[in-house]
């Protein structure tokens, strides 16, 4: 315990005795949902087939479904959920605004513009590159798009230390409008084949998961997550406002740059792999704060667990809702996330007035 305290930094009041229990519980739920993701699907599989699939001794069609379709899907879900939740958590912390979400403030849309440009200009861009690098082009383009938007939103929201809800949402509206216009022009100039790739991708889905894709996005997200997980104290200090955080010894500009780059990396990486998936980055940190309190050293891991749980549950939902067809996963996350967002907005406005 002392070691953990020293690592998480800052003054640590004695742990609420229930905190370790909550993490065990969250982890338990995640394991159950993950097993469900492997076991439950449109195709009914026997326990032996599932075990054979997991142990990579796939021989029957059933076990191939587990090892080739469901397992990479689960892995991608873990990566995407973690990335979105951590980004949402860091953005909310740095902007001191509970409505910050990679989707709402336009980071995901920026990543989309990047990724779609890569799809449309694929032939031009890829001609110059060796074939083995192609799998990285989409994530890099998405990262660039997300980076531009994050930088813009951060510079707009800089005034006065804290961001107002109004500024943030207006910036998001503006960014989304610009990005949608760009997506519109990309759609206009694309040919039929590109259009197919784009429409599938725009809907958001874990369905395209294969081990190459999982490896690439895992590598990107692992880097971002490693640094984001260690930002607990910095995010805590930001809750004092930028000036007081600076007085307390924090290089606030550096922290903001770090969060902007890491979020762009994480969101870009997973958006390239699974398309834009909304609301996970908004909901997961909130639920995490409700159960572990406001300390970011605890909120970050709890949010990552919540994010993966929510995303895998949404995926389970869309896979099993109307088989053999499969609605886009964004539909499920928006159906929970939309009302949640509205509730949050209304309660915040009631509490703080419109300009809060």
């Amino acid at each position: 315990m002392p070691l953990v305290r020293a690592m998480t930094g800052g003054f640590t009041p004695p742990w609420p005795s229930k905190t370790p229990g909550i993490f065990v519980l969250l982890l338990g739920v995640l394991i159950v949902v993950a097993l469900a993701e492997l076991a439950i699907g449109p195709v009914n599989l026997s326990l032996q087939e599932i075990i054979a699939g997991i142990s990579l001794s796939a021989d029957s069609q059933g076990s191939i479904i587990v090892s080739y379709i469901r397992a990479p899907r689960l892995a991608l879900g873990l990566v995407v959920g973690t990335a979105l939740a951590l980004s949402g958590c860091a953005l909310q912390g740095v902007l001191r605004n509970p409505l910050a979400d990679p989707g709402l403030i336009g980071v995901s849309t920026g990543a989309s513009v990047g990724a779609l440009s890569a799809i449309v200009f694929k032939d031009v861009m890829l001609g110059m590159l060796p074939p083995e690098s192609h799998v990285y082009v989409l994530p890099i383009a998405a990262f660039a798009g997300a980076g531009v938007v994050t930088g813009f939103v951060f510079s707009v929201s800089r005034r006065g230390g804290a961001t107002s809800i109004a500024t943030l949402i207006l910036a998001g509206v503006a960014v989304n409008a610009i990005a949608l216009a760009m997506i519109g022009s990309l759609i206009y100039i694309s040919d039929d084949q590109q259009l197919r790739d784009m429409t599938f991708w725009m809907m958001g889905s874990l369905g395209a998961a294969n081990w190459t894709l999982v490896t690439v996005s895992f590598a990107i997200v692992a880097v971002a997550a490693f640094f984001l997980f260690r930002m607990g104290r910095e995010l805590d200090l930001f809750q004092l406002g930028e000036r007081a955080a600076y007085h307390s010894g924090l290089d606030t500009e550096r922290t903001k740059r770090k969060v902007a780059v890491l979020c762009a990396l994480a969101v870009g990486g997973v958006t390239a792999a699974a398309g834009p998936i909304g609301f996970i980055g908004l909901m997961a940190p909130h639920m995490a704060r409700l159960i572990v309190g406001p300390r970011h050293a605890l909120v970050l891991p709890a949010a990552a667990l919540m994010g993966t749980i929510l995303l895998l549950m949404a995926d389970l939902g869309v896979r099993n809702a109307v088989p053999p067809a499969e609605p886009p996963i964004g539909l499920a996350t928006s159906m929970i996330g939309g009302p949640f967002f509205l509730w949050l907005l209304l309660t915040r406005m009631k509490r703080d007035g419109l300009n809060a």
Binding site: Q61, I64, Y68, R196, G207, N210, P323, P324
Partner: protein, 282 residues
């Protein structure tokens, strides 16, 4: 008139040769993703072998009773697998690519149809479906019939052609209309029916500006009947100045046809040519 002879004897031999290899394996659980392919399966009398169809498969009416796998470009690998198919017949645009890859990886036979927005294409697709269902003889017979019908329909259309300029309107939005340019199924069927595509100078389905539409002076507006059979979107067309001032609307030449019949290039294509021809050459 149309160079049907391009479908050479050589081609038929090739198809027959390939079919022989599959003759012993007659798939009994077939998923068809593509409205035209589903029609062909039924036309070959193998409709009862279908266990699932995509959302573009709306003809014949029995397709409504089959399991629905969603839009052809957005199928889910596991969803399709849950139907335990031994063959997936996919239109050229079956996707997304990862789902097709996943299906193949689990050992399911996935057959992608040749592209075919042309009379030859229809015949290719019939032979393709027949080959994969192990119904080569039936397919050859059907292809022969369709070829004759097609030739007749195209000849009749050519005879009665008055060189009318036809514009195909895919959809009407608040900001503009989406029309069928060159290299589209709409362009192909209009020309087969003895018309002339008024939307020139661009490929694919694109928004066309008001002035270009006025300048094109379409004499017939062609649209798809919407699923409920209503005509709401045709009413909206009449209100728009770029259409109300064209010869098409002035003479009341507004044609609506079933989308799959018109653009599917399935076995009903001769019928589509005949219907469209009589509608635009009135």
């Amino acid at each position: 008139m149309y160079p049907l002879r391009r479908l050479s004897v050589f081609m038929v031999c090739l198809v027959v040769g390939a079919a022989a290899a599959h003759a012993d394996t007659r798939p009994l659980r077939v998923v068809s993703a593509g409205g035209d392919l589903t029609e062909i399966v039924y036309a070959l009398g193998a409709g009862d072998r279908l266990v699932g169809v995509d959302s573009t498969s709306r003809h014949p009416g029995e397709t409504q009773k089959k399991a629905q796998i969603g839009y052809v470009r957005r199928v889910s690998a596991e969803g399709v697998l849950s139907l335990k198919p031994d063959l997936v017949l996919g239109a050229n645009d079956l996707g997304p690519p990862p789902a097709v890859e996943q299906l193949r990886a689990t050992g399911v036979r996935v057959a992608i149809a040749p592209e075919g927005d042309s009379p030859d294409g229809v015949l290719d697709k019939i032979l393709f479906v027949g080959r994969h269902l192990g119904l080569d003889d039936e397919a050859r017979r059907l292809a022969g019939e369709i070829r004759e019908e097609m030739t007749r329909a195209i000849e009749t259309a050519a005879k009665s052609s008055r060189g009318r300029k036809v514009i195909f309107v895919l959809s009407v939005g608040d900001s503009g209309v989406l029309v069928g340019g060159e290299n589209t199924a709409a362009d192909a069927i209009i020309r087969l029916a003895g018309g002339e595509n008024a939307a020139r100078g661009f490929e694919g389905y694109k928004p066309m500006s008001r002035e270009s539409i006025l300048q094109a002076q379409p004499e017939v507006v062609l649209m798809m009947k919407n699923r409920q059979g209503g005509h709401r979107s045709t009413d909206r067309i009449l209100d728009r100045p770029e259409f109300s001032m064209t010869p098409a609307v002035a003479s009341g030449s507004l044609v609506t046809m079933d989308g799959l019949l018109l653009l599917g290039f399935g076995p009903r294509t001769p019928k589509a040519v005949a219907e469209l021809s009589s509608a635009i050459n009135r």
